[in-house]
């Protein structure tokens, strides 16, 4: 039979509006946080074992109940606002920049994106995925942005540490080669000089 603490966890997570941090559960239930984690894990496993239509997951630093992903088709038929609108590619790339380089100013994002990102940043802020997290201490005191708990929830991850490492996305030598060829490759009399430089560039750049 379920213990009182297990049942209390189920009851509290059921009424929480946002993922509830284990330390808060620990405080309310007067048990060590590690014990809370253990119990949550075992509850989550019991729902899986019973083939329930919901699951208990750890996301954005806390536990929450959510509908099982394989029932998305049914839940989508039940009107839910704001779930379906996907982010544009521009917004997503900007979001990726903020996620990996936070805290970051708008100007710094623009620098990489090559275009003004004012509108896109407003959209992301509006959606609650990024927020102002401080000010650049330097001259100008630019507003610095970072991602929010809502962003973690949107990705379904527990913390930023779980983001795939950026190194994974650094283009391989063949892309470098293509870029090099496009930008550096000189015709005719420059070819010798350029080939040398290209090789150097490549060996430096290889991961």
């Amino acid at each position: 039979m379920a213990t009182e603490v297990e049942r209390a966890i189920e009851a509290i997570v059921m009424v929480a509006e946002d993922p509830i941090p284990p330390h808060l559960l620990a405080q309310i239930l007067e048990v060590p946080p590690a014990r809370v984690e253990e119990l949550c894990q075992s509850l989550a496993e019991s729902y899986v074992a019973e083939d329930r239509g919901f699951e208990l997951v750890r996301v954005a630093g806390g536990y929450r109940f959510q509908s099982h992903s394989d029932l998305a088709g049914y839940v989508e038929r039940f009107a839910l606002e704001g779930q379906s609108n996907r982010l544009s590619a521009a917004a997503l790339e900007t979001l990726a920049l903020v996620a990996y380089k936070q805290p970051i100013s708008r100007a710094q994002v623009s620098e990489v994106r090559g275009v003004s990102v004012d509108g896109v940043m407003r959209t992301l802020q509006h959606r609650g995925y990024v927020a102002e997290v401080g000010r650049d201490p330097g001259p100008g005191q630019a507003v610095l942005y970072g991602t929010t708990a809502r962003f973690l929830e949107k990705l379904g991850i527990d913390s930023l540490d779980v983001l795939p490492p950026l190194a994974q996305f650094v283009p391989g030598p063949e892309v470098m080669d293509a870029l090099d060829a496009g930008l550096r490759h000189g015709g005719g009399q420059h070819s010798t000089e350029v080939t040398t430089t290209t090789d150097e560039g490549l060996s430096d750049e290889s991961p």
Binding site: Q66, Y100, R113, V115, L155, P164, V170, H185
Partner: protein, 261 residues
């Protein structure tokens, strides 16, 4: 190599450049600019709407590339190792670095998209406390007066700073009819009879031409010039008639408006 048009919408000029360079293996120093621009134009035609920002930034980059290419093609440039040449390489390296970074985050964004799509299949419970616990929850309005509420409403309605396009780097064109009259008073007595197109041949801005036309009309009104035209849309001929004495000072035109564009 035929250009492959993909339906994916390009989101930034660096992407576009990246795409064009990697797909076409464009050689900047041989065929680059014309083919890049051709491909770019073709791509723009495939997009439903023109993103002015994207287009402008692309032109800026194209201009940088053009300058790089032009300087590289100058005779004897390959044995020049002065600072200018070094700066040129730095510029190119910088561009390369930016393209590289852009590609990295493009791929990172694709990974985020996949994670979001997977996470979107689960819907969180956000139902909150049942109403029976309502009276247990702390009263969030404790200590809040109607007047504080009013102030909060005013603060919410106060417009925040709106982003604006900085046009300081664009030199405004300021021309006045009075200035144009002054110029005409200098030019017309010497020319005697002259066509309007010759009178405005050295003007670049449309606004300047318009203002000069207004100046001609001013002079006509005063009877100092005669105008004749060879049919509709024909060229206008301006003939200097003289000022008949005093009063040909530009100051006499002081109330004439100024134009800015």
């Amino acid at each position: 190599m035929p250009y492959e048009v993909t339906t994916a919408v390009f989101e930034g000029p660096f992407d576009l450049l990246l795409h064009l360079i990697t797909r076409q293996q464009v050689d900047i120093y041989q065929v680059s600019l014309s083919s890049i621009v051709d491909a770019y134009v073709a791509e723009m035609q495939n997009l439903r709407t023109l993103d002015l920002e994207v287009a402008t930034e692309f032109l800026l980059i194209a201009a940088v590339l053009l300058e790089l290419k032009a300087r590289r093609l100058l005779p004897g440039s390959d044995d020049v190792e002065d600072e200018e040449e070094l700066a040129l390489w730095e510029e190119r390296d910088l561009l390369l670095a930016r393209l590289f970074e852009c590609k990295t985050f493009k791929d990172a964004a694709a990974a985020l998209r996949r994670m979001m799509d997977a996470a979107d299949r689960s819907f969180p419970r956000r139902t909150g406390l049942e109403e029976r616990f309502l009276d247990v929850t702390p009263d969030l309005l404790a200590g809040i007066t109607a007047d504080r509420l009013r102030k909060a409403c005013l603060s919410a309605l106060t417009p925040r700073l709106l982003p604006h396009v900085d046009l300081d780097h664009v030199a405004p064109i300021r021309v006045s009819v009075a200035d144009a009259v002054t110029e005409l008073l200098d030019e017309l007595p010497r020319a005697g009879t002259i066509t309007f197109s010759r009178l405005t041949a050295d003007l670049v801005e449309r606004l300047e031409v318009i203002v000069r036309f207004l100046a001609v009309l001013e002079l006509y009104k005063r009877g100092w010039v005669e105008l004749s035209q060879s049919g509709n849309f024909g060229d206008l001929t301006v003939t200097w008639m003289g000022t008949e004495g005093e009063g040909a000072e530009p100051a006499a035109f002081s109330p004439i408006e100024e134009y800015q564009g």
